[in-house]
Each structure stands twice: as structure tokens, then as C-alpha cells.
């Protein structure tokens, strides 16, 4: 036992010596570098260039650019380029099959957006979806995370069970729910009938269909946010709980005054990302209802897709997309500002 301790101490000593030598070498270099920059008028400096009174090393800048370049090129091709092109098309009559003949039409597409009743309906549906699905999914995820965090037995199984819907493709779960919610022979209506209730037109009623899609979306997505919340909950300092317990705080007070403030950054991140993805809802209405009944599940993203891809009206599709992007950005930034304000 003692021998082992000596060996460990010797090893530590060697490491400390090596570290000391490294520091010495580093220190010896520092003054030289300082001198070369200040003392010799820049004669021995590496080549540099100046932008607005700030000097940059040419070599370092070059290497920096080499490393950043792939990202910049890909970003320019797949993000910036399409945004600029879409911005241009929004002011033209571009057709998917005649993009080279696009003519400038000024604000005509934007005027059309405000006259198109389907855009109004799609925006209403999308906002309804966002307003309902975000809190539902957010608090379901948080609730599940708290539950899984608290339960010790079967924790792994529960985590897996709640996460399974996330692993399934949206198309598959949409088909699954379509069968479950079928008006005439779906399992849900069969159960309602068996209980003596009245069958519900899940997929054909103008009001209920959107609500069904909201529920399905929350069910499918909550597992993912649950995992993020679990990791945030694991990082909450336990001494805070102990201190609050000593102060006599009950479980609700502990949740409100300890847990929630501690996970606020995660909460904010989950909320913003959920909000953005909720705005982009497209798969479920596309597969389950094709925007019906009577456009009552038509969403903005689906309508943009229809106009651009199916109807080939790229100009109009770009105009709707541009306006919708502003709506999304305004909502997201406002919420972000709200959360940041609270933090301050």
C-alpha cells in the first residue's frame, strides 16, 4: 500500500516538473513575441494586413478561411443562395417549368397573397396549431420528464416508451392514426360505440380534424423534448432542493422556485425550437387530410409547397414564404426577447 503511494507521488512529481518546464518555455517565448511586435517597428513580424485599425495575421487569416470555407460554401449554396433567389422570385411571375422566362411583376404576388382566402385560412390554421400544440407538447414533455426523473423503477422502460414515437417516421404515425381515427371502422370510434357514445368524424369534421392533428403532433413530438428536459433536470443542483426543503418548501414550491428557474435556459430553447417547428407543420395534413376537409387543415407550409411544387407557381409561392418567414421571425424574436428580458 505504502509503496504504491510512493510511486504515485513520484509520478506526480515528474508531471509537475514537466509542466513547470513547459511554462518556462512558454514564458520565454512571450516577451520575444511582445518585443517583436512593439520594439523593432514590425521588421520581423509575420505578414499582416489591417482592416479598420485592427491588424490581422495573413497566415492565420488564410488558415482560418480554409477551415471555414467548406461551411461558407455549403451555407452559400444551400441557405443563402436559395434565400436570395426566393426573394427575387417573389417579385416575378416565375413558373417551375419556365424559370428562365421569369418576368418582374413588382408587388403583384404580395397583393395576391392578401386577396387569397386560402392563405388567410392556412394562416389561421397554422396559428391555431401553434397556439395549441406548443403548450400542450411543452407541458406534456415537462410532465413526462418530471415523472421519469422521479420514478426509479422502470425508469429506462418509460423513457424508451415515451421516446418511441419520435423514432417513428411522421408518415408512418400519420397512417397509423388515420386507421385509428377512421370515421366508420377506426378503433377509437369502435371504443366510443362500445361505451355507448356517438362516433366522431375525426377526419371529416372541419373543426375536429385539426384538433386531432394537434393531439397527434404533440403525442409524436413530446418524447424528444422530454429527453432534453430530463438532461436539464439532472443538472439542477441538489443542494438547492435540500436547502429549500430545510426552509419548509413543499413540492410545488420547490418546482416553481427551484426547478423552473434552474431549467429556464432549456425551457426557452425548447420553446423556441418547438415554436419554429410547429410553424412548419406540413407532413400530417399532407398525408392525413390533404389540407381538407374544405381547407380546414391547410397550413402555410403545405400551401407554399402546393403552390411551388404542385402548381409550379414559384413566384407566388416565394411571396407567401417571404411573408410567412416574417411572421415566424416576429413571433420567435418577440418570445426570445421576452425570455431574455425576464433573465435580465
Amino acid at each position: 500500500m505504502d509503496n504504491t503511494a510512493d510511486v504515485t507521488r513520484e509520478g506526480e512529481g515528474e508531471r509537475l516538473t514537466r509542466y513547470g518546464e513547459f511554462l518556462k518555455r512558454a514564458k520565454s517565448k512571450l516577451p520575444r513575441m511582445h518585443l517583436s511586435l512593439k520594439g523593432d517597428g514590425g521588421k520581423h513580424r509575420q505578414p499582416y494586413f489591417k482592416i479598420i485599425r485592427t491588424e490581422y495575421s495573413r497566415e492565420e487569416t488564410l488558415w482560418g478561411w480554409i477551415f471555414v470555407l467548406p461551411c461558407v460554401i455549403l451555407g452559400a449554396i444551400f441557405v443563402l443562395g436559395p434565400i436570395v433567389i426566393s426573394l427575387y422570385y417573389a417579385f416575378t411571375d416565375a413558373n417551375l417549368l419556365r424559370l428562365d422566362e421569369a418576368q418582374w411583376v413588382g408587388f403583384e404576388n404580395f397583393k395576391r397573397v392578401f386577396e387569397d382566402s386560402t392563405v388567410g385560412l392556412a394562416l389561421t390554421n397554422t396559428l391555431t396549431f401553434v397556439v395549441e400544440v406548443v403548450p400542450l407538447q411543452l407541458f406534456t414533455a415537462l410532465g413526462l420528464a418530471l415523472l421519469v426523473n422521479k420514478i426509479t423503477h422502470g425508469n429506462t422502460f418509460l423513457r424508451w416508451a415515451f421516446f418511441v414515437p419520435v423514432m417513428l417516421s411522421l408518415a408512418i404515425t400519420s397512417m397509423l392514426w388515420m386507421n385509428l381515427l377512421n370515421d366508420s371502422d377506426g378503433l377509437i370510434n369502435a371504443l366510443i360505440l362500445a361505451c355507448g357514445g356517438i362516433p366522431v368524424n375525426w377526419m371529416t369534421d372541419e373543426v375536429i380534424t385539426l384538433q386531432a392533428i394537434i393531439f397527434i403532433s404533440a403525442w409524436q413530438g413530446a418524447g424528444y423534448q422530454m429527453m432534453i428536459f430530463i438532461s436539464a433536470l439532472k443538472n439542477v443542483d441538489h443542494s438547492l432542493y435540500e436547502a429549500s426543503e430545510i426552509d419548509g418548501a413543499g413540492s410545488w414550491n420547490r418546482f416553481v422556485h427551484v426547478t423552473l428557474p434552474a431549467i429556464r435556459p432549456t425551457f426557452s430553447f425548447v420553446l423556441i425550437t418547438m415554436l419554429i417547428s410547429a410553424f412548419r407543420i406540413v407532413t400530417q395534413p399532407m398525408i392525413m387530410t390533404q389540407g381538407g376537409p374544405n381547407n380546414h387543415t391547410m397550413t402555410m407550409s403545405y400551401y407554399i409547397y402546393l403552390q411551388g411544387t404542385q402548381y409550379r407557381d414559384i413566384g407566388y409561392s416565394s411571396a407567401i414564404a417571404l411573408i410567412f418567414t416574417f411572421v415566424m421571425a416576429a413571433v420567435s424574436l418577440t418570445l426570445r426577447r421576452l425570455f431574455e428580458g425576464k433573465k435580465d
Binding site: 488558415w63 413558373n95 366508420s184 404542385q310 407566388y316
Partner: protein, 452 residues
């Protein structure tokens, strides 16, 4: 520094590899005796799919058949299996100038492609035009010029479970003439009264074009039509068109049902084999169920009212007015994927030879055997043994006698979606007090007309 150079070189190579993806291959076009002309064909399927496999074997057999141009050059076919990305690829190629010689196009897109100058007329190069059924020639002809040809058709009709109908007094003689929609409803009422499966599976939301495929006949049979680009609203609000579309209401009304909460005339369940298994008495559908029924051969031991050996396929129902006069207009608008020659071809003659091979007799019969689509070759329809009896003969007759196509217009995608919404409106709202079909059609079709 060597490390830095190597790293830089690696980055550069990766970027070059990334940006060079999707570049086109070399194409020979040496149209001289002994030379080789390569015809590039884009198809809408992946090679692994049954239809894709047929195209692949057609390409191989074409390349082994020794086709030559008039000047003696060998024609070889090269095929690109685009799958579902074909529309995007065509749009990109239209912009950058890399269209193939021949491409697959859904027959309802031909008008748009011609309007965009993407397809060229093959009037002057095609030699086998007369061998195709009329419906193919009709759907591929725009403003009097032929732009494409097809080796596939999908004639549909009214599937009827004659076993069930026999129990309420119908005999063979009753199937000699096309039925009207009213005849169908009358039979359904008899079956309902006899407590037998009575519903009709209308399939109006089948795929992306079920409404137009199976129910544009509502309009045609009543003497209406879908008009032209920019004049759809006017066409579909004529008394004929309105009367035709209104016929669908009888299958969604609550009238005559004991318990409208749990019963309906039209089947809305999820069983795709409802007709085959005798769960419903009628179905409006394409040729695919006939193939499935003959393949599965369900017996009454498996399903009490199984359709196998107990079914007929009549043409789509016809219009019948209030006085009981039945229309003589029997419409069976079908149409499938076609092949057309693009503006970028350097050898239209060779491209047409390849196109005619891909849609010719061998190809069309191979498609029938492998994927169940109907031959478009008149001789095949007249001579193929499978098409001379039973349900297949009825479908072949429906195809041969058809004179209608789905609407040919640039704004077809908008048109078919609007028509789908009209039929959905009937389905979901015809029992409501606020139901106003004409106003709804005006609203929907007005949107189509105002679209660009």
C-alpha cells in the same frame, strides 16, 4: 507545413467531389453508317420497383435488337431511373439545358410541358400511331399535334357484386347496358332493405387524383365538360355540369338510413379490399381490383359475400335526368404515364424509335403481365387471351370504347385539387342547412381561373 498542405489538399478534394456530383455523362451522337446514337431516357420509377424492372429489361432488349437510324447508325438506349425526383430534375434540366432525349410524363402534365416548350411534336417521326388505342392518342394530342405515346392504360368501371345482387332479384340481363347512378342507388336500397352489404366504395380520395380519375365522368356523362384554362368556373357551373356533379349527393345523403350516425350509403372505412371481400356491394375503381380478385380467389368460406366468381364490371355509371332518360355518353377517362421527346434531343428520329419501343406492343404486354396496367396496343387488346373473357374483357371494352380524357389544361394540378374539394364538400356538407353546391363550385373554380 506538409501537414497543412495535405489538409488543404484534402479539403479541396472534398469540395471538388461535392460540387461535381450530378454531372452528366458523355453522350454520343454519331449519326453516320456504323456510328452509334445514344438515346437517353428518364423514367419516373426506381430500378428496384416492378415497373422499373420492366423498363430495365426493355432497355436491354432494345439494345440487343439492332435498331438503326435511316443513315445506318446504331441506336442504343441509356436509361436514368429518376423515381419520384423526376419532376424536380426536369425543372432543373429545363433551366440548365440538360434534358434527356426522351422522358416519362404523366399524361395530365403533357399540356404544361408543351406550353413550356419542353416537349416537341412527334407527328413527323412517329410511324406506329395507328396501333395505339384512341384514348392514348387523345390524351397525347395538344392542339392537333401528337407529343407523346403511352404503353399503359388504367381503364376503370363500376364493380358490382352479382352474388349479392342476385339475392335481390338481379339477373345477367340487367348487366347488358351501362347503369345510371340512380340504378346503383336503387339497387343499394334493395340490398339495404334485405339486410345485405349494400354500400358503394367511391374512392374519390384515391391517390392524388382519385376525384378526377374516377369521377370526372359525372360531368362528362351529363353532357358537361371542364372547360379550358381560365374558363373553368363557367364550364363547371353550366346546368349540365352541375346536374352531373349533383348526382354524387345521393350517396352522402342521410335519406333512407335507419341510423345515419352509424350508417352511410358510401363506404368510408379503411379496408382497401372491401369489395373483394364482399363488405361492400359496389365499387368505382380502376383495373387493379380485378387483378387482385383473380389472384386471391377468396371463397365464400373465407368471406361470406366474396366477390370472386360473383362480380361484373360495367362502364362508369351514366347520367339520368329527372324524367328517367339515361345519357348515352359513357365516359371512361383514364390515362397513365407516357413518353415524350424533349426539345434538347439531337436526334429526334432515334428518340422516336426508342419511344415507340418503350410504348409498343412488347412493352405494353410486358407491363400488363408485370404490373397489371392495360395494353394500349389495339392488336394486344384484341388478341391477348386474358382479355377475351370475364372482367378483363369488360375493362378492355371500356378502354376501347372510351372517347374522353381527363381535362387537358396547364392548370390541371389546381383544377384537380379544386374538383377534389368540390366532391369532398358534397361528402361532408350535403346534409347541412348551409349547403350550396353551385356557390362552392364558383368559389373553388374561380380560384383556379385566377391562378397564374
Amino acid at each position: 507545413m506538409n501537414k497543412n498542405i495535405r489538409l488543404g489538399a484534402l479539403l479541396l478534394t472534398s469540395l471538388t467531389a461535392l460540387t461535381s456530383c450530378g454531372g452528366g455523362g458523355d453522350q454520343s451522337n454519331n449519326d453516320v453508317p456504323g456510328g452509334t446514337v445514344i438515346v437517353e431516357v428518364w423514367v419516373h420509377k426506381n430500378q428496384q420497383e416492378p415497373e422499373g424492372r420492366v423498363y430495365n429489361s426493355l432497355m436491354e432488349s432494345f439494345n440487343n435488337s439492332g435498331f438503326t437510324t435511316a443513315s445506318g447508325a446504331n441506336i442504343r438506349m441509356s436509361m436514368v431511373f429518376c423515381g419520384s425526383t423526376i419532376a424536380t430534375r426536369i425543372a432543373s434540366a429545363q433551366l440548365t439545358g440538360g434534358l434527356p432525349d426522351v422522358l416519362a410524363v404523366d399524361c395530365t402534365d403533357i399540356t404544361s410541358y408543351v406550353d413550356a416548350g419542353l416537349l416537341v411534336s412527334i407527328d413527323d417521326t412517329v410511324t406506329t400511331e395507328d396501333s395505339y388505342v384512341d384514348s392514348v392518342i387523345d390524351e397525347c394530342t395538344i392542339d392537333g399535334s401528337l407529343y407523346a405515346l403511352s404503353g399503359m392504360e388504367a381503364p376503370g368501371g363500376l364493380y358490382m357484386n352479382t352474388g349479392l345482387l342476385a339475392q335481390v332479384g338481379y339477373t345477367e340481363e340487367d348487366y347488358a347496358e351501362p347503369w345510371s347512378w340512380k340504378d346503383v342507388k336503387e339497387a343499394m336500397e334493395k340490398l339495404y332493405a334485405a339486410d345485405l352489404p349494400y354500400q358503394i366504395q367511391l374512392n374519390q380520395n384515391f391517390g392524388t387524383d382519385g376525384a378526377m380519375y374516377f369521377h370526372s365522368n359525372l360531368v362528362y356523362s351529363a353532357g358537361g365538360d371542364f372547360g379550358t384554362d381560365g374558363a373553368v368556373e363557367a364550364a363547371l357551373t353550366t346546368p349540365e355540369a352541375l346536374a352531373g356533379i349533383e348526382q354524387l349527393e345521393m350517396f352522402y345523403t342521410d335519406d333512407g338510413l335507419d341510423n345515419p350516425r352509424t350508417e352511410a350509403w358510401a363506404y368510408t372505412g379503411s379496408n382497401a379490399s372491401a369489395f373483394e371481400q364482399g363488405e361492400v356491394a359496389f365499387e368505382i375503381y380502376g383495373p387493379w381490383d380485378a387483378t387482385t380478385i383473380e389472384k386471391n380467389k377468396y371463397t365464400s368460406a373465407q368471406y361470406e359475400h366474396a366477390a370472386y366468381n360473383n362480380y361484373q364490371i360495367l362502364p362508369y355509371p351514366v347520367y339520368e335526368d329527372a324524367s328517367g332518360n339515361k345519357s348515352t355518353l359513357v365516359a371512361n377517362p383514364c390515362g397513365s404515364y407516357c413518353f415524350g421527346v424533349t426539345k434538347d434531343t439531337e436526334n429526334k428520329e432515334a428518340a422516336t424509335v426508342a419511344l415507340e419501343y418503350l410504348t409498343g406492343r412488347d412493352a405494353t404486354e410486358a407491363m400488363f403481365s408485370e404490373i397489371g396496367t392495360f395494353p394500349t396496343n389495339k392488336d394486344s387488346l384484341a388478341e391477348m387471351e386474358q382479355l377475351q373473357t370475364g372482367a378483363f374483357k369488360q375493362l378492355a371494352d371500356n378502354l376501347s370504347n372510351n372517347e374522353f380524357t381527363r381535362p387537358k389544361m396547364v392548370k390541371y394540378p389546381q383544377m384537380k385539387d379544386a374538383y377534389t374539394r368540390v366532391l369532398d364538400y358534397i361528402k361532408n356538407s350535403c346534409n347541412d342547412a348551409s349547403y350550396d353546391l353551385e356557390a362552392y363550385i364558383r368559389d373553388q373554380m374561380g380560384t383556379v381561373d385566377s391562378a397564374r
